[in-house]
Symmetry: C2
Subunit: 206 residues, 2 copies
């Protein structure tokens, strides 16, 4: 192999560390960037350099934010007694795109994975229980467990439900599981079908 | 939509401008980076900021380099009379990975695309003809047109062959076209099959 200029190798190596980007894609991206005006490339570099500056977790919901309390938790128009529990910060964005939810969130930052050594103490579960406990002293609280319905997701949801069971005035909900819109029954796996069957709703009744 | 911290939005927008990376992938990459140590993220940012610094075209072959003459052209062990003509800088890397070629290159920086307004004057064609002309005054020169065998690639190759035709001591070659190794005849399109048929070689003869 010929020796590439050092700055090209460095950029390829850095980009190739990103998930889903291998050395070939990284090379393509770098040569794409080389063709762009220097100001564009520098602004990309600068935006990444500054990315983590002043970022922190929201003290209430553990969303990533640049304030002590994030813009959702500090929004007085949102229901503070309706807490949607999600795995990752990006899940919050997904639900916000839905534009229907006006409660708040709680980001776990992962799910229980005993095989990978990820136990409850590595997630924001204690903080959730504490938060719900404090809130439920005043009025009833709805906790919606919007964790992905995988095997590990289900056991995380059960674990949390178990912890919250003995708190008074707390309703623990699980997000609906079934066949996604646009998909077809034919292609659904048996477990999804079984869950969809058990989660059936009344459409009309005479 | 909730307002994301400004540094997150900036990073997502910058990454989403890269080819093959949409807003969703950009978000995933950014949240992946946020979880990484600050030093890793800063080093990625810095490597991109410095990417274009001191880069230039090799004055002989127009490869991207940080010297006036690139490491291939300045390597005295390589055949300076064998010139492989490629479309893009990354094509040089592809041939170098082959580890069999010991000639030099000439990077066109594109191919003729009359529909997109890309004419010969926007490519390094005049420079190629001049380079071959100078070289061929001393000894015979082999020019290998390793341009991709698309419709536009073929017409670019013909155009260059036409220009070089009247120079003495110049042999113009076209890279082999056919069925790629590991692929199967069944899936090859007719044009590739036709080219493979016309490009057949003698394996043994009695």
């Amino acid at each position: 192999m010929i020796a590439l200029p050092q700055q090209i190798t460095a950029a390829i190596e850095s980009l190739a560390k990103l998930p889903g980007i291998g050395p070939k894609t990284a090379s393509r991206l770098v040569y794409h960037l080389i063709k762009k005006p220097a100001s564009d490339v520098e602004s990309l570099g600068r935006s990444l350099m500054l990315l983590k500056k002043d970022l922190c977790f929201c003290e209430q919901c553990f969303q990533i934010t640049d304030h002590h309390i994030c813009s959702i938790c500090s929004n007085t128009k949102r229901q503070q007694k309706q807490i949607m529990v999600v795995e990752e910060p990006l899940d919050v964005m997904a639900f916000e795109r839905m534009k229907e939810y006006d409660g708040v969130y709680h980001v776990l930052h992962g799910i229980l994975k005993p095989m990978d050594g990820i136990g409850p103490e590595m997630l924001k579960i204690t903080e959730l229980v504490q938060r719900v406990k404090t809130l439920s002293q005043e009025a009833s609280v709805e906790v919606i467990l919007s964790i992905s319905p995988s095997l590990e997701g289900e056991s995380t949801a059960s674990y949390i439900a178990q912890l919250l069971r003995f708190l008074p005035h707390v309703q623990v909900m699980r997000i609906g599981v079934g066949i996604p819109i646009g998909s077809s029954v034919e292609y659904a796996d048996e477990i999804t079908l079984s869950q969809a069957f058990h989660g059936r709703r009344v459409l009309s009744q005479s």
